[in-house]
C-alpha cells in the first residue's frame, strides 16, 4: 500500500501532522494503536505554563526563548506563527478555542487548582489573573457523578474570592443511568445527554436550581462527538455558563479525537484504527517500508515516515530494568544509563525520566546507531528534552513539532 507519508500514532501529534500533510495534497496513512492520551485531555492546551525554574509564564513565546538548547521547541522555527497555525488547524476541524501564544490565561483543574495555559476549548471557564469574573457562582454536578470533586473545586473558587454554592442536578434518564453507579463516567453521561430534547430539559433543571448565582459552572459531560449539544445547553441556560474539566475519561478529549480524525479522513487521509507498526525495512539511512500487526502481507510504503507514538504511556518508549528503548525500530534514545537516577524520591519533583525520548537532529530526523535516518521524523512526546509536567508544555510540543515535521517533509 503506497502513501506519501505514513504517520505512526493517532493522537494529537499524529493527527495534527496527518492533517497538515493531507491538506497540502499528500496521500497519508495514520496508524493508531488504541485510543490516545487525548482521552485524558483537560480541555485546555498548554504551550508553556512554567519556565525551567518553575515560575509561571505570562508570555509563552518569550519564555520559550529561555529554554535549554535540548528542548524540542528549539527545532520548530517560528513558535508564534506555528502556534497560530495550530489554533487554526483545530478550528478547521471544528475544535474552537480561545487564547493566544503571547499571553497565557488560567484554567481550573478538576481538583480546583489554577494553572496557566495557552488555549481553552470554547465554553470552558477561563480566568484572567487570579480573580473570577463573578462574585457568586453555582457549581452544579450531576447526582451520582463521582469524577468531579466538587468540594475541592469549590475551595479553589473560594480562594479566588468567589461565593460558591454546590448544587446537585439530575433528570430521570440520569437517575436511570445510576443503576450502574460504576459506569457514571463523563463519557457515559455524555451518551445519556445525547439528544436535543434531554438537553433542553437539562437546561430547565439548571435554570430552576440557579438561585441568585451570577454564573453556572458544570462538569464537561456534554458532546462526545461534536459540540452542538454543549453549545445548545449554554444558549438555553439563562445565566452565563462555563464547563469545568473533569477527571478522565475526558469528554472534550474524546470529541477532539473524533473531530480531528473526521477532518483527516475528509481530507482523504487513511486512518488505520487499532493497528500498530511492528517492523520496518531499513536500507542504509532510508526506511523503505513498514509492517503493521493487522495488515499481514501488506507493506506500507512511503517517501517519509513520522514517529508520533508518544512517551511511556503511549508505548512510544518502553523501559525494563536496565534500559529505555524505542520498541519499533530500536532508535537512539536519550536517557540516563544509571537506573536509580531515572526517578526522584519525591514524586512532586521534576522526574528525570520525563525528559527521556528519541534523539533527533535539527530537522527532527531520528537516528539509529548514531546515523541520521533521512526520511523518518519524530514529533510529540516521543522526543527527548521535554518534561511536559514540569513545564506544562504537552500539547504545544505535540502540535508544534508535528507542524514543523510536516513543513520539513513538504520542503
Amino acid at each position: 500500500m503506497k502513501f506519501n507519508t505514513v504517520v505512526m500514532g493517532g493522537g494529537l501529534t499524529g493527527l495534527t501532522c496527518g492533517i497538515a500533510l493531507a491538506k497540502a495534497g499528500q496521500r497519508v496513512a495514520v496508524v493508531a494503536t488504541g485510543q490516545s492520551s487525548l482521552l485524558f485531555a483537560s480541555g485546555s492546551l498548554d504551550l508553556l505554563g512554567y519556565d525551567a525554574q518553575g515560575a509561571p509564564v505570562a508570555n509563552p513565546v518569550e519564555a520559550i526563548k529561555t529554554l535549554p538548547e535540548s528542548h524540542p521547541y528549539n527545532k520548530v522555527g517560528d513558535v508564534e506563527a506555528l502556534a497560530a497555525e495550530a489554533q487554526a488547524l483545530l478550528a478547521e476541524a471544528g475544535v474552537k478555542t480561545t487564547g493566544q501564544a503571547t499571553a497565557n490565561h488560567n484554567r481550573l483543574t478538576p481538583i480546583g487548582a489554577v494553572k496557566p495555559t495557552w488555549l481553552s476549548l470554547d465554553g470552558y471557564l477561563t480566568i484572567d489573573g487570579d480573580k473570577l469574573p463573578y462574585n457568586k457562582v453555582a457549581l452544579m454536578n450531576v447526582i451520582g457523578y463521582l469524577d468531579f470533586p466538587t468540594k475541592f473545586i469549590a475551595d479553589g473558587l473560594r480562594q479566588m474570592g468567589a461565593d460558591v454554592e454546590i448544587k446537585p442536578i439530575t433528570l430521570p434518564e440520569l437517575n436511570e443511568a445510576r443503576k450502574s453507579p460504576t459506569e457514571m463516567r463523563a463519557t457515559n453521561i455524555a451518551k445519556v445527554l445525547g439528544n436535543e430534547d434531554i438537553v433542553l430539559r437539562l437546561a430547565a433543571e439548571i435554570n430552576a436550581k440557579a438561585g441568585d448565582a451570577e454564573a453556572i459552572l458544570l462538569p464537561a459531560v456534554l458532546g462526545i462527538k461534536e459540540d452542538v449539544l454543549a453549545q445548545l445547553l449554554k444558549k438555553q441556560v439563562s445565566k452565563p455558563m462555563h464547563y469545568v474539566a473533569t477527571i478522565p475519561p475526558s469528554v472534550p478529549g474524546a470529541r477532539m479525537q473524533a473531530l480531528l480524525r473526521k477532518r483527516f479522513e475528509a481530507l482523504g487521509g487513511t486512518f488505520l484504527n487499532g493497528d500498530k507498526v511492528v517492523a520496518g525495512e531499513l536500507a542504509g539511512d532510508t526506511l523503505k517500508s513498514v509492517e503493521t500487526e493487522k495488515l499481514v502481507g501488506t507493506k506500507l510504503e512511503a517517501e517519509n515516515y513520522v514517529l508520533a507514538t508518544g512517551s511511556f504511556m503511549g508505548r512510544g518508549l518502553v523501559s525494563d530494568y536496565e534500559k529505555v528503548y524505542e520498541p519499533v525500530f530500536g532508535l537512539d534514545v536519550d536517557y540516563i544509563a544509571e537506573r536509580p537516577e531515572w526517578t526522584h524520591d519525591n514524586v512532586f519533583e521534576a522526574q528525570p525520566y520525563m525528559e527521556f525520548g528519541v534523539k533527533t537532529d535539527a530537522q527532527l530526523h531520528v537516528m539509529k546507531d548514531g546515523n541520521v535516518i533521512n526520511n523518518v521524523y519524530a514529533a510529540g512526546q516521543v522526543l527527548s528534552g521535554n518534561n511536559k509536567v514540569k513545564l506544562a508544555s504537552g500539547e504545544g510540543v505535540d502540535m508544534l513539532t508535528a507542524l514543523a515535521v510536516a513543513k520539513n517533509i513538504l520542503k
Binding site: E176, A177, S180, N188, A258, G274, L295, Y321
Partner: protein
C-alpha cells in the same frame, strides 16, 4: 532474573496490563445505553480479579456484552477486554440455552429446513400472527424482519450452474460462503464467483462447510461450535494443501474462524489463519503486488457510504475493502463514523434486547439518513439486516459493488495481457 520476572508476569489476554483508565467504557456500545450492564472494565479485567479468587463472583449481566470487541480496539494497552468477558461466560455460566437461543444459533439447521420450504417460510415469517407468536412464545422481537430464505441454496446453484466451469481456470480459490450466502442471499455468492472468474480464478466449495459458529458461541453452545469448527478447519486444510486460499465475504465468519476459534475455543489454527481471508483483502493484495488489474464500467455511478462492522474494525481490515472500493472511478465513497449498528448477530433478535439494540444503532441510522447515499456498503451480513430494517437504505457487500461495477471483458483482457507481458 529481572527479565524473567517481567516475562513471566504476562497473563492471558494481557489482563495484568489494565491501567483502569476506563477508555474501553467510553467506546462500549452497550454501556451508557443499558444501565444494567456493568461495562467492559467492570465485566472484564476488574471482575476477573475477583473471579480468579472465587467463581461465585461471576454475574449473569456479562451476557449483555455484544462481543463487538470495540473495547479491545480502544484499549491503549492491548488488553483483550472482550475475550476476558467471553471466557468468563464460557467458564462460569451454568445456565442452559433456551430453545429460542438454540433456534437462533443453529443457522445451519434452521436454514436448511427453511430453504426447502422457502416461500412458505418467508410468507409465514412475515405474517403478523407468526410474529406475534414468535414474540410471545419464543421471545423473538416482533419488530424484527427475518432475513428471507432463498428458494435455491447457493450450494445448489453453484453445483448446477458454476461448478463445471471452474476447472478451466489456471488459478484457484476455495470459497467459505457462510450461512447467509447459502440460505438467505445467494446473489452475493454469485457475485463473488463472477469477480473471481473475471480475475482468472476458479472458485471451489469446501469439501464440508459448517456454520462458522459465531451464533453458537454467542448463545453458549460451545461444544457444538468447536465441533463445527474442527470440520471447517479440516476442510480448509484440504483446500490449502491444494494451494488454494480460502476466501470469504463475511467479516464475522472470518474473524470467528481466524481469531475466536483459537482465543475462545482453544483450537489450533496457526497453519490455516494466514490462508483464510476476506475476498476484498485477497483482491487488494493481488493488485497491490502488481499481480492483478481491475477494469470498471464507464457508466457506473453510485454514491455509497461505508459502514465499519465491529469485527472488521477488530481485524483492522477496513482499509482493504475501502481501498478496493475507491478504485472504482464512478463510486463516490463516504466514510461513516465507525460505530456498532446494534444487531450483533442474534442479540438484536431477542425480545429482551430489541430496545437496546435499536438505541445503540440510533446514531448510525441518523448518520446514514444524513449522508444522502443510494446504498450503504459493509462487510457484515447482520449489519445489513439491521441497517436495511432501520433505515430502508439498501446495503451491499463490497464484493457485490465490485461485481456490479466491473467491466468483465476488459478485466479478463487486462490480466491476459499481463500474463503475456510477465512471460516475455
Amino acid at each position: 532474573m529481572a527479565d524473567e520476572m517481567q516475562l513471566n508476569n504476562i497473563s492471558e489476554n494481557n489482563f495484568e496490563q489494565c491501567l483502569k483508565c476506563s477508555i474501553c467504557t467510553a467506546y462500549c456500545p452497550v454501556s451508557g445505553v443499558s444501565p444494567l450492564y456493568p461495562g467492559p472494565k467492570q465485566s472484564g479485567p476488574d471482575g476477573e480479579r475477583y473471579r480468579l479468587k472465587d467463581p461465585k463472583f461471576f454475574n449473569e449481566a456479562l451476557k449483555m456484552c455484544l462481543n463487538c470487541k470495540r473495547c479491545e480496539v480502544a484499549c491503549p494497552n492491548g488488553v483483550n477486554v472482550g475475550d476476558i468477558i467471553q471466557k468468563a461466560r464460557m467458564k462460569y455460566y451454568t445456565g442452559k440455552p433456551k430453545l429460542r437461543d438454540m433456534m437462533l444459533a443453529n443457522t445451519d439447521f434452521v436454514g436448511s429446513m427453511a430453504t426447502i420450504v422457502a416461500p412458505i417460510a418467508n410468507f409465514a415469517l412475515g405474517l403478523g400472527v407468526s410474529k406475534a407468536v414468535m414474540d410471545t412464545v419464543m421471545a423473538i422481537d416482533k419488530h424484527r424482519t427475518f432475513p428471507s430464505y432463498a428458494a435455491t441454496k447457493f450450494e445448489s446453484w453453484f453445483k448446477k450452474h458454476a461448478a463445471a466451469e471452474q476447472d478451466k481456470y489456471s488459478k484457484h480459490v476455495s470459497f467459505f460462503h457462510g450461512c447467509y450466502v447459502n440460505y438467505n442471499y445467494p446473489q452475493l455468492g454469485k457475485d463473488l464467483v463472477k469477480v473471481m472468474n473475471a480475475c482468472g480464478y476458479g472458485v471451489h466449495l469446501l469439501d464440508k462447510e459448517k456454520c462458522c459458529g459465531t451464533a453458537l458461541i454467542a448463545n453458549g453452545l460451545y461444544g457444538q461450535a468447536k465441533k463445527q469448527g474442527e470440520t471447517n478447519m479440516e476442510s480448509m486444510r484440504q483446500a490449502i494443501a491444494k494451494g488454494r486460499t480460502v476466501v470469504t465475504t463475511s467479516s464475522t465468519c472470518t474473524f470467528t474462524m481466524r481469531d475466536e476459534y483459537h482465543h475462545l475455543l482453544d483450537m489450533e489454527t496457526g497453519d490455516v489463519r494466514e490462508h483464510l481471508t476476506l475476498a476484498t483483502r485477497f483482491l487488494f493484495q493481488l493488485i497491490d503486488e502488481g499481480k492483478l488489474k481491475l477494469a470498471f464500467r464507464d457508466d457506473y455511478k453510485k454514491r455509497v457510504a461505508y459502514h465499519t462492522a465491529c469485527h472488521m474494525e477488530r481485524m483492522g481490515w477496513v482499509v482493504y475493502s475501502t481501498q478496493l472500493l475507491k478504485m472504482i472511478p464512478g463510486l463516490d465513497l463516504v466514510m461513516l463514523d465507525s460505530q456498532c449498528c446494534g444487531i450483533s448477530g442474534t442479540y438484536g433478535f431477542k425480545k429482551e434486547n430489541y430496545e437496546t439494540s435499536q438505541k445503540i444503532g440510533e446514531p448510525l441510522f441518523k448518520a446514514i439518513a444524513e449522508a444522502n447515499v443510494e446504498a450503504v456498503s459493509t462487510d457484515c451480513e447482520t449489519c445489513k439486516w439491521q441497517i436495511e430494517m432501520s433505515t430502508g437504505v439498501p446495503v451491499l457487500n463490497p464484493i457485490s459493488i465490485i461485481a456490479d461495477a466491473l467491466d468483465v471483458e476488459k478485466t479478463i483482457e487486462l490480466n491476459k495481457n499481463r500474463i503475456i507481458v510477465l512471460r516475455n
